[in-house]
Amino acid sequence: MAKIEFLDVHKSFGSAKVIENLNLTLEDGKFNVLVGPSGCGKTTLLRMIAGIGPATKGQILLDGEDVSNIPPGKRGVAMVFQSYAIYPMMTVRQNIEFGLKNNRVPKAERERRISEVSQVVGLAPYLGRKPSQLSGGQRQRVALARAMVKEPKVFLMDEPLSNLDAKLRGAMRSELVQLHKQLKTTFVYVTHDQVEAMAMGDCIILMDQGKIMQQSDPETMYRDPNNIFAAQFIGTPPTNIVEIGSENFKLGFRPETIILSANAGPDRAFTRRVKIMTREMLGAETFYKLCLEDGQEAMARLTNSSLAEGDTLYLQVDEDNLYFFDAKGNRVRKTGSQHYDAMVERVKRSHES
């Protein structure tokens, strides 16, 4: 078990600065999920923890100890690679055993751990096979078993499920969560899939272009985003962002908080006349694309599927469901801003004018 800390970490490839001035703490024993769009630096971050792509500047601490000068194999971390990176010329057993042998684990102990791990991941019947004789899902399990068998302090996983089909992915997801509950070690799990992040993480670290946009538990990530990026990255369809006349702030609201009705209720903070442009019926819920009178667009996600394209209605959102963002895209909260009430007033009035 280990706490992981990044202190003023920089990483560049040649002249390209990928990460600048990163400060981040990953708590001991948590299922941490690193999520963000492709190319934002997730793999780079994992590689720094593992020691296979060292930081250009700054310190990385494992349990308070600077690991900059500790070689990758001695850090007590195990990694599941995006590509699995299993050794193609070794059998499944040899793959799992390789790290143990290198760490001089005695033979009896090796046997015990290998049989235990292969039971857990369901590889016991395949120990004698070569990786080329395995399915994608089985290879993924080899990669997992190879990491688990080392009983690491930190488990790094780089999009381990991205090559699996939807069904297997779902099953592996819950298995990994289960595994974390058993092992109680620190997990750092990378994904670019927000659904996966929300479903699996205790703690989500949302990244964009090498910066941490928000670090919080899934619930907070969804209910209380720090900025437009976080509000839009989490949730399907993404949070609607609209401008209010010539105001210097922006308004956000989630598609599922929209109330559509023929008559506007009097007590709602945000009201607009809208026309339904498209309708996508997805079973339990229906997505509607709406066009506001000033030409801005919004998505609604409702259980009501009886509305039709071309209908003209009122869109309303309650004050509690509104997010205010400043010109830079950062959240302006009720607590800590003296302008908040004034902004709500201006939004309310904006409909009447």
Binding site: R47, A50, I52, P71, P72, G73, K74, V77, A78, M79, F81, Q82, S83, A85, I86, Y87, P88, M89, M90, F98, G99, N102, N103, R146, K150
Partner: protein
């Protein structure tokens, strides 16, 4: 329409016929000298000079082989050839594998220049370097040892280059995974890189083997005593011992010379062909 198809069929037949004839021709062209060598080595001296020559020996005899052994101290030459060839292969592997690994996976100062030097060495023919090397060897007083036939070939530019290419095919992730598995560099080389480069390693070893086993010019220049001369030079000596050239004896000597090469090619032909095909060498 009927005639059109017949034409097509005829043309295809003609093409395959020509192709077959051509292949047969090539086969004969390559195999006949071999055949001639084998047959001649089993002939008597008289049988070898009859005119017109016969395709099979009139009397089958091992006389020529006996003569090779009696005329020469064959074991001495054979021993030299084996020692030189084995030593060259072992040293080339011990030097070439780590060098290729370093060139393929490490970035260090002067890597580009060093690789260029290796490539340059690959292109310089021995005819240009042998005088300088000879002088060096003579100053070292090595000419009455096997060392001049071994040491200059300790590193094979061709081998380093080919292995480097093969090592570069190994995904970086796999090497990094091995580092995370606490494998040292030697272990990564032997357990991860070499198995992945098996076919290239075999190609390189084979070329070294043939090159070293068959080398004639270099040992001729670099030796000053019979006791350090290889088989190739001994076979040559079979020629000038008699007034008339005794072809069966020379061919018997050549048989002894090519037998190991032939055996290896026969035993490993499948693997050799697949490794060459894989490299794109035709």
């Amino acid at each position: 329409m009927h005639s059109k198809y017949t034409g097509f069929k005829l043309r295809r037949l003609a093409v395959s016929g020509i192709s077959f004839t051509f292949k047969l021709f090539m086969l004969v062209l390559f195999l006949f000298p071999f055949y001639w060598m084998i047959v001649t080595s089993f002939k008597t001296y008289g049988g070898s000079i009859v005119f017109p020559p016969t395709l099979l020996p009139h009397t089958f005899t091992l006389e020529a082989f006996e003569q090779v052994f009696t005329r020469l101290n064959l074991w001495n030459y054979l021993k030299n050839s084996v020692i030189v060839t084995v030593a060259v292969i072992v040293i080339q592997t011990l030097i070439g594998v780590p060098a290729a690994y370093a060139f393929s996976r490490y970035s260090f100062k002067g890597r580009g220049i060093m690789l260029a030097l290796v490539m340059a060495a690959f292109m310089v023919p021995t005819q240009i370097t042998f005088i300088t090397v000879y002088i060096m060897m003579s100053k070292l007083r090595w000419l009455n040892t096997l060392l001049p036939q071994i040491v200059p070939f300790g590193a094979s530019a061709y081998g380093i280059f080919l292995l480097r290419q093969a090592f570069m095919q190994v995904p970086t992730d796999i090497i990094e995974a091995a580092r995370l598995d606490n494998a040292g560099e030697i272990k990564i080389m032997t357990r991860i890189m070499l198995p992945a480069a098996k076919s290239s390693l075999m190609t390189v070893t084979l070329f070294s083997f043939v090159g070293s086993w068959n080398s004639y010019f270099w040992p001729l220049v670099m030796s000053n005593a019979e006791k350090v001369r290889p088989l190739t030079l001994a076979i040559e000596r079979l020629k000038d011992q008699d007034a008339g050239i005794n072809w069966p004896v020379i061919m018997a000597g050549n048989m002894i010379m090519v037998l190991p090469v032939l055996l290896i090619f026969l035993l490993m032909s499948n693997k050799i062909i697949s490794s060459m095909g894989y490299r794109g060498i035709k």
